[in-house]
Symmetry: C2
Subunit: 383 residues, 2 copies
């Protein structure tokens, strides 16, 4: 009697597996369901200590349950998406170090959930984090959209070939400018939001998000949840926005305190209305720019994004654009930039330099890590 | 009497210098003319042992006297320009090693000269390397254009702060397909040129070029001249053409013998009409491609250019294009590629991998040198 039961259940599981179509290589026939769900995983491998390994399931990257939501929200300034995600990962690294955690794209909040939360509150959408539409069209009378984007990241620990959810990070992007139209396809108007109001609305939204997350299936009460608050940059900005505060909830669903983040991005060269926090960096950049700009008879455009923590420069992304007339010009220019950057640009911070032709194609690339003094160089060639 | 003479000549040289307008920083007033011409030089600095330093004169890169001629000639397939110039520099490295020679863009042949040489021979243009227009429009009756492009590179030796011309390289690009129109803005027709005819016409052109170069002012009779012969690829090719032979003239103006070059470029994956010389490489590439292609739910495009010497693969440029939905996807993908490339792609050759988004923007980049086993990786980020 017992024997027949075993044969029957084996037969059933083979049937079930066959019905699934493709079976992952690491899943051998006859495993029980519980084991399947934890063993079909691999990781991407870690090529750099400073990056997380990612999760691969049944041979494919485990993409976010809310994949693509961020792209749609940020169509006006894609820099906000890039800097938001890079900054969120950076914040997470302090809390969930890359040597002991594996990164998993958010699996708890679905596209539908995130879209509802980011929308206005209404009869049909009680979960909206943005205020109800009060019907007003005037910039100062309407209720603006405060919350612009939201992203979940999961941090896993590996043990006995299983991955366990061991940390969650949520980033919330807040507007200081809310762009809106009075009629469809009409002109764009702007409601300005004060920094104070933004912080206040952000804390209210974060409290709701934390409480909802704790009540989500699969989220243990004692998993640390990091919430990072991000201020979106305006649509005409040449750098993305920045994180201004964060909180870590060890357990439970209330937020006890917030920590300030003093990281902000700036554009080089600085202008009369937007100057970088440290004059010395501007002088260094200007000297570098002058050398590089005049290398060819035709001018080269030289700009940069710099990230500051208080008054201290933490990193530079330099962009150089010029017209090239030959491969040899690209090679010579790249070697010259490597020397010039070493001489003029600040030491002790990570710097990368991208060199583009006048058609926007990347022609060469230079980079150094914080502790390196010389630049890695690469010229994009063709056979 | 003698003293007055010295004062007079000093006064004259100051006048002459002032008339030149801008005077280079390194040129102090009162130097004689001969010294001027050799001292206003700097070099770009050398960031990689395998690249030449380039020449900077009065703070600016010394661009080719025929700058831009190559770009105009290659408008149909820009890959021919890139691979022609990269290959020419590569040929030169064997003859004029990077540790003892400095690279100078061609200063002997001007745009006007090169344009005349590349044109047809005619009453107005006795120096044309291409045959006279016989008036025929039929593909097999007309005289095709055999010589498509021509480039000069100079190799200098540094001694006592002076640069001396110590080697010249000239590349000559030959057609196997000559594209022409029967009437302006009309359809494009093609005259096919046999390999034998191409080689024969190329040797005749090279003999004229050598003899003319030796008679050019500033070219000593005993400076080695390397002439490299390049076969242009067709307009629809996804790789550039290749060098098929070269000769080195130690002195004098006749060519004694030619050396074969067995380097050729191929596209991966191979097709039924164009397969790579070594099946194992194709298998490796296909395995790599399969792993990478299926990483995301959406497919990634994976292609490569490979360079072969006979049946031996000498290098790979891999191109991967896919749609990304977040920065974290780019980071995870890049780490995965680094591991997968290490596992599947051939060892012992230089490989670089460029990862682009669906809009064509470069998102990340991986590379290894021939002797390295791990890949250098870089994700293009934004603040």
């Amino acid at each position: 009697m017992k024997k027949i039961g075993v044969i029957f259940s084996l037969g059933l599981s083979v049937l079930l597996l066959a019905a699934c179509g493709k079976i992952g290589d690491s899943t051998s026939t006859g495993n029980n369901v519980a084991k399947n769900s934890s063993s079909g995983y691999q990781t991407t491998g870690q090529n750099s200590d400073s990056e997380y390994e990612g999760v691969i399931k049944n041979g494919k990257y485990l993409t976010s349950k809310a994949r693509g939501v961020g792209v749609a929200q940020n169509s006006d300034n894609i820099l906000n998406l890039k800097s938001f995600e890079a900054g969120l990962t950076q914040l997470s690294k302090d809390q969930f170090p890359t040597d002991s955690y594996v990164f998993r794209e958010g699996q708890l909040l679905t596209s539908a959930t995130v879209e509802k939360w980011l929308d206005r509150k209404s009869k049909d959408n009680p979960d909206g984090l943005n205020p109800i539409d009060n019907g007003q069209k005037d910039a100062n009378k309407r209720n603006p959209m405060y919350v612009q984007q939201l992203e979940e990241q999961d941090y896993m620990k590996q043990k006995d070939g299983k991955l366990t959810l061991s940390g969650i990070t949520v980033g919330i992007g807040m507007n200081t400018k809310d762009y809106y139209e009075k009629e469809k396809y009409g002109a764009t108007f702007t409601t300005n939001i004060s920094k104070e109001k933004m912080v206040q609305e952000g804390q209210a939204a974060a409290a709701k998000v934390l409480s909802r997350l704790r009540n989500t299936e699969g989220v243990p009460n004692n998993v640390p949840i990091l919430i990072g608050m991000y201020q979106q940059s305006s649509n005409d900005s040449l750098v993305g926005g920045s994180f201004y505060s964060y909180t870590v909830s060890k357990s439970g669903n209330t937020i006890s305190s917030w920590n300030d983040v003093n990281v902000k991005s700036y554009v080089f060269p600085s202008t009369s209305t937007a100057s970088v926090p440290n004059d010395n960096d501007e002088t260094s950049f200007e000297s570098f720019k002058k050398q590089v700009q005049n290398f060819f008879p035709n001018l080269a455009g030289v700009t940069a994004q710099g990230q500051y923590e208080n008054k201290s420069l933490k990193g530079l992304h330099v962009n150089i654009t010029t017209q090239f007339y030959s491969e040899t010009e690209i090679t010579s220019f790249t070697q010259f930039i490597a020397q010039t950057a070493k001489t003029y640009l600040p030491n002790g911070i990570p710097i990368d330099i991208t060199v583009k032709g006048s058609d926007g194609t990347v022609q060469s690339f230079l980079a150094k890590k914080a502790k390196e003094s010389s630049y890695y160089t690469h010229v994009f060639s063709s056979y």
